[in-house]
Amino acid sequence: MQPSAFDEVAFFRALHQSGSRALLIGRRALVFLGLPVLTADYDFWLASDDIVVFNAVGKQFDLHPNRTPDEARKYGRYVLENDEHIDVLVARSVPTLDGHVLDFDELWTRRRSVPLVDVDVHLPSLDDLILTKQVASRPKDLEDLRLLRILKEQAP
């Protein structure tokens, strides 16, 4: 089966141009950092004030939200999808399994930017990315944690 015609670079370019405060998290963030992991979807942590702007970017790519912005703020997350699937976290803060609270604004302040062709994609810092893997974790997140710990050991 061939991947869909979704143009990832065009999507990230439109996202960059929109000015949305969106952090790429999840396995695609690991791919940006050079870790060869497979994933089907995209995961973003988005500033809750930027839902409308983010959805406008999605609309350019025929991606439709499953919740209104108010519903998304109420539940803390929503999905943009067509044959692509984008999980969007919009909670202002989330707890890790051991009770550490991750605050979006703090992660945004510490973000790192990774170049993609002619734009920057925003990722959490490596330490923060490791913490995002400790929120409502599944077994594959434990594998990712091990990869990220090794990557961190190599960081200057």
Partner: protein
């Protein structure tokens, strides 16, 4: 079709104790070298973020089961 039991095992939520064990588990030299070798291969073969993203899309399309 993936059996329900496998899906449940993949999607289950881990406990705080499992997480703590993982974070405290030492990483062996063999594990470290295996991961670093993968990273070296991946970043050498696909040096840009663009090429890495494209690789993952193609690899996932090869891996996932065909639609019913």
């Amino acid at each position: 079709m993936i059996p329900d039991g496998v899906v449940q095992a993949i999607d289950r939520r881990i406990t705080a104790a499992e997480l703590r064990r993982e974070l405290e588990r030492p990483i062996s030299a063999d594990q470290r070298e295996e991961v670093l070798a993968l990273i070296r291969w991946f970043t050498h073969r696909y040096p840009s973020a663009e090429s890495r993203l494209a690789y993952v899309r193609q690899a996932y399309a090869r891996w996932r089961p065909p639609p019913i």
